[in-house]
């Protein structure tokens, strides 16, 4: 049986912004002044967030997801590896997914190879190793020219994986990171190496690089319409070109969920946190209002071919997730799913059935959402949504992807 894998993703937003933040500031990223940090109110925040992830492990999620952002209020994780290290000691079963470190931002990718190998040992082989290029804001934060990002990323990933699989010391002669002594201690526990995940935003170039190495593709999008199904089909096609067969577990997506007893109650309880997240955390990232730093000529990481495809694509309304002002607009994007266990189950099932993606990375905590609400939603999800999704997806995937039946079952959560 191969049920969909359900992970809990925490972004660790800064929750203590002033009420009038949106009026006074053009972005929650890069230029958001750190004088807004309220040390007294923020005391204990990391503990609260870590404990929510530990709770996810206790509730039987397949893993906990962390990621890296710098100088922003969207995610207080400039170093996700520090939090992952804490999780290795506080959790027992779930995978620890770091999605990911941003090698183009660092001087030396071997630091990532070393820290990930440490995490894999410290967690008894539970690490999923993610590598990302870094977004527009990160280019500004760390002064890394966007056009160099992908070249550096792939050289770094290949060097890191080789440092895990090949005996050292060896020379590395790449143009970005030439090294005389590659000889990583410790070696990772998982053999030949931890599962590698790489995010992409539907460019064929990224899909090619991921597919030919047999890694997992994570679709970087917060909205899931027909584009997600298309991306899965495109990635399956690219894999096939490289002589590999797609299964739902080769791809992952981010969904956001809030579950309560009824649809109305779910909206009532999550409203403050969700709109704090949409208007503040996404300002500068996925919102027209304010300064948009994620995508564009100022952070030109897309190839010329991809940019041309973007200009040729039919024009969408131009609005982004953070522009949503009503529950109805939010629902259209199929990004943040709010409702009773049955409503959430049905919407997620429709998504799984349509897109046939097997790794669901789910955000439960939004913006300034209170601890007890995030926990309540996680618990209801784990007890009243996850079992049916696992059962139905295992049946569906078994029928549509018969080759899965020949494979070892994906490690089931306890």
């Amino acid at each position: 049986m191969h049920p969909a894998r359900l992970f809990c993703w925490h972004f660790m937003a800064y929750p203590n912004l002033p009420e009038d933040f949106d009026e006074d500031h053009e972005s929650g990223w890069v230029t958001v002044p750190n004088s807004l940090w309220d040390g007294d109110r923020t005391r204990g925040l990391y503990q609260e967030y870590l404990d929510q992830l530990v709770y996810a492990d206790e509730l039987g999620f397949d893993g906990m997801v962390l990621n890296e952002h710098h100088q922003n209020i969207y995610g207080l994780m400039p170093s996700p590896n520090l939090l992952a290290a804490a999780l290795t000691q506080k959790t027992k079963n779930g995978k620890i997914v770091v999605l990911g470190n941003l090698p183009p931002m660092y001087l030396n990718p071997l630091r990532v190879a070393e820290e990930y190998a440490m995490l894999d040992n410290m967690s008894n082989g539970r690490l999923i190793a993610g590598f990302a290029v870094g977004g527009g804001p990160e280019s500004f934060n760390y002064n890394v020219p966007s056009p160099h990002g992908r070249r550096r990323l792939w050289e770094a990933i290949d060097l890191i994986v080789k440092s895990w699989t090949d005996d050292g010391p060896f020379h590395h002669e790449g143009p970005c990171y030439p090294m005389r002594y590659v000889n990583v201690w410790p070696r990772p526990l998982q053999q030949p190496h931890p599962e590698v995940w790489v995010p992409g935003s539907r460019s064929i170039e990224s899909m090619e690089e991921v597919a030919k190495r047999g890694y997992r593709y994570f679709l970087s999008s917060r909205s899931h319409g027909g584009g997600t199904r298309m991306a899965a089909k495109e990635f399956a096609g690219v894999m096939e070109k490289h002589g590999k067969t797609y299964t739902p577990f080769h791809m992952g997506v981010l969904m956001s969920v809030y579950v309560s007893e009824t649809d109305e109650q779910a909206k009532e309880e999550s409203r403050e946190g969700i709109w704090y997240f949409l208007k503040n955390c996404l300002k500068g990232h996925l919102r027209k209002q304010g300064r948009s730093m994620t995508f564009g000529p100022g952070v030109p990481s897309q190839s010329l071919r991809s940019w041309e495809a973007f200009l040729n694509a039919p024009r969408s309304s131009g609005t982004m997730l953070g522009d949503a002002d009503t529950w109805e607009e939010l629902e259209e994007r199929n990004s943040i799913i709010v409702g009773s266990p049955e409503t959430v189950r049905k919407k997620l099932w429709d998504f799984i059935e349509d897109a046939q993606v097997g790794n669901l990375l789910i955000q439960f905590q939004f913006g300034n959402m209170k601890d007890h609400l995030a926990r309540k939603s996680m618990k209801l999800f784990a007890e009243q949504v996850a079992p049916a999704l696992r059962r139905d997806s295992a049946e569906l995937f078994g029928q549509v992807f018969p080759q899965l039946n020949d494979e070892e079952p994906v490690e089931a959560a306890q």
């Binding site: 020219p145 966007s146 027209k288 209002q289 564009g296 000529p297 010329l304």
Partner: protein
């Protein structure tokens, strides 16, 4: 007036040519032919009445091949020397606008024997304490859906018709959108990372160029402050400044005839 492709060490470089007489190598910038339009502006047409303009598009701009290994202004300088080799230009007058001026100054300090006269227009490239270069990359990222910040960084009148015509808020016009993306992707390769749009050592190396050097600069340039033109003029052995009142960084668009007249007079003199 014509466009043709050059083979430069196996890479395609698109070259615009116009005019007759003394050859002048023209190196473009951001608000410029090859960066904002395929063909020439009034400025280039006016200058082409006085000399023969040879204007290559930088790597990745218009029809020139992109060079993914380009990581610094030295790489673009070397590439431009190769373009000069391919054109058989042993020694040539160079006019450089914006980042093209920076490259021209790099060539003049490094290979002074290859340059006759040197005219820089709104050129970055130097560190001038207290006069930081504006963040072009942040300015081109939409704010509230528009790029007014870019227009006011490039033009003295950022909301005027000229600025709106060349840099409209709608970045999805295909030709403009592609050209703009191309020039920004090219310039990000050597201008984005620290040091930002300058070379640490260029200022101390300018003295090697002994020929006539002119820095033309919009008095209201909000991208490269006017002090940078003075620093260039002071740095060269034989440098001078011409300020254009009422103009910004896109001075060749804002006052094409005045700038062309100044540059032509300098090249003739």
């Amino acid at each position: 007036m014509s466009m043709r492709d050059l083979d430069v060490a196996g890479r395609k470089v698109q070259l615009f040519e116009a005019g007759e007489g003394n050859p002048v190598l023209y190196l473009h910038g951001v608000a410029d032919m090859h960066g904002a339009a395929v063909g020439p502006f009034a400025f280039h047409e006016a200058l082409a009445k006085e000399c023969r303009i040879l204007a290559p598009a930088h790597p990745g701009c218009v029809g020139s091949d992109e060079d993914n290994s380009m990581e610094s202004v030295e790489d673009l300088t070397f590439h431009t020397l190769e373009v000069m080799d391919a054109l058989g230009l042993d020694k040539v007058d160079i006019v450089g606008n914006c980042v093209g001026g920076w490259v021209a100054a790099q060539i003049a300090s490094q290979n002074p024997e290859r340059v006759g006269k040197l005219a820089l227009i709104g050129a970055p490239g130097l560190f001038v304490s207290g006069s930081p270069i504006g963040d072009l990359f942040m300015a081109v990222q939409p704010r509230n859906g528009g790029i007014a910040d870019l227009r006011s960084m490039l033009f003295a009148d950022g909301e005027g018709a000229l600025a709106q015509e060349w840099f409209p808020d709608d970045h999805r016009d295909k030709e403009q959108g592609m050209l703009r993306y191309q020039i920004f992707r090219c310039v990000a390769r050597f201008g984005f990372k620290p040091p930002y749009f300058y070379h640490q050592k260029l200022r101390d190396r300018l003295y090697r160029f002994k020929g006539p050097a002119l820095a033309v600069h919009g008095a209201n340039d909000a991208f490269v402050p006017l002090d940078h033109a003075k620093a260039y003029a002071d740095g060269f052995a034989n440098g001078s400044v011409e300020t254009v009142a009422g103009a910004g960084h896109a001075v060749i668009l804002e006052q094409p005839d005045a700038v062309a007249a100044k540059v032509a007079a300098f090249l003739k003199g």
